[in-house]
Symmetry: C2
Subunit: 245 residues, 2 copies
């Protein structure tokens, strides 16, 4: 049986916790990981606070195959992710010669100030995540992937790092619109879920185009046959429903 | 000196971790709490898994003044938040007579099935969060506020529960568009941050309308005078910049 590959996400940034910036990275990474067969198990959001970052990172990296962080790798004083990651691993951190060399090509001597050089500080032993269009590089240290907080840059970094990750058997999913209220299908759905181990059945209420309560049912499994059998049971249940609505 | 009131958010739901549903609640609650003087310190997202919910809830409720949960209070088998909260607190859980009475007014005998009755299961000692437009009630147990995952319902619940919460001195904030690249202001900004304790200065890069790298600087403080002084220093620094761009 193939290995289950798991992940956690650590979002770093005061601006998310204050509500000033609305995170767009969690949903993107979640969907990305699902598509490459990695199970996202947990997300944490913490402030630009070294203690909080280290504690959350150590909790997540010991539990999951991979941890993806976003935010805090820019040139300003509130960008403390690289230093915090180095401390969490107990390794040194210094200017990375390759990054400094790239910066020298890109910036004038006047521009290459202390702030910009901070973006070249990479923990010892980390592998760079960079490309021609990425200014401050991300990096991968052991099972931790450190990425930018700006969505377009984070997305470019995911594309670079993803081919290097091991992935598990992809979680398959199928969904159906119930045309029923969640409360009308809760009991039969529970019975179907119990009768179909190795599948996960989710029920998501929504208001449909007529403002009527409706429900999407999502069946997930790594086994195509089990997924098909569970979805068939759901369809049969829905077809037989004597709806009261 | 007034008390600092803190909070954590616990988002519960497989659909967020799979990426199928993009969370809209974290940003909303974060902004709401900032506006009422409560500091959001941490967010966690976990699956519809009793062990994961209990562990995260216990971690958050012991650390912060309040914990706000979203998701998992509907009528289906994957809605396990109320039971998990009861277990986390070590209290019983049973049908709440007031909720059952409301359901009897709203539903026919045929509609009031086992699934719908699950939504009336409330941990012992909890205070209901409900209104005429809310079907499944939320509840407040000790410092934990349990809310729906559907954004419109969650938002209605926030409005009901917010007046009952203690709030601290509100965090004030002011921001300025730097018209400078983050790397050009990193060093002076660090000096300003160091010279202005009791303020928090954030730097947020963005691409402006000419696709040029630009930066928003946000200064936050509970003290209006300190905020003003720090912002004045930022403005002075920006005015004096001999920009290379």
């Amino acid at each position: 049986m193939s290995e289950i590959v798991t992940a956690g996400i650590l979002v770093i940034g005061d601006e998310i916790l204050s509500g000033r910036t609305k995170d767009k990275n969690i949903g993107y990474i979640a969907e990305y990981l699902t598509n490459i067969g990695i199970d996202l198990k947990e997300v944490r959001v913490v402030a630009d606070d070294e203690g909080a970052i280290i504690e959350a990172l150590n909790a997540l990296r010991s539990r999951y195959t991979y941890v993806f962080t976003t935010g805090g790798i820019g040139p300003t004083h509130d960008d403390i992710t690289a230093d915090s990651v180095a401390k969490a691993f107990g390794v040194g951190i210094d200017l990375h010669p390759e990054v400094v060399a790239r910066f020298r090509q890109r910036f004038s001597e006047a521009e290459l100030n202390e702030a910009r050089l901070r973006m070249a500080r990479i923990p010892d032993g980390a592998e760079l995540i960079q490309s021609a269009t990425i200014l401050a590089p991300g990096f991968k240290l052991d099972n931790v992937i450190v990425m930018a907080g700006v969505p377009s840059i984070m997305q470019a970094m995911m594309d670079i790092v993803a081919p290097k990750l091991k992935s598990g058997v992809r979680m398959l999913s199928d969904s159906v619109r119930a045309n029923a209220r969640e409360g009308d299908i809760g009991s039969p759905l529970r019975a179907i879920a119990a009768a179909h181990p190795d599948t996960s059945i989710g029920s998501y209420p929504f208001l449909d185009e007529n403002s009527k309560p409706n429900t999407n049912i999502v069946v997930r499994s790594r086994d195509a046959d089990k997924l098909k059998a569970a979805m068939a049971a759901v369809q049969e249940m829905l077809a037989g429903l004597n709806l009261t609505r």
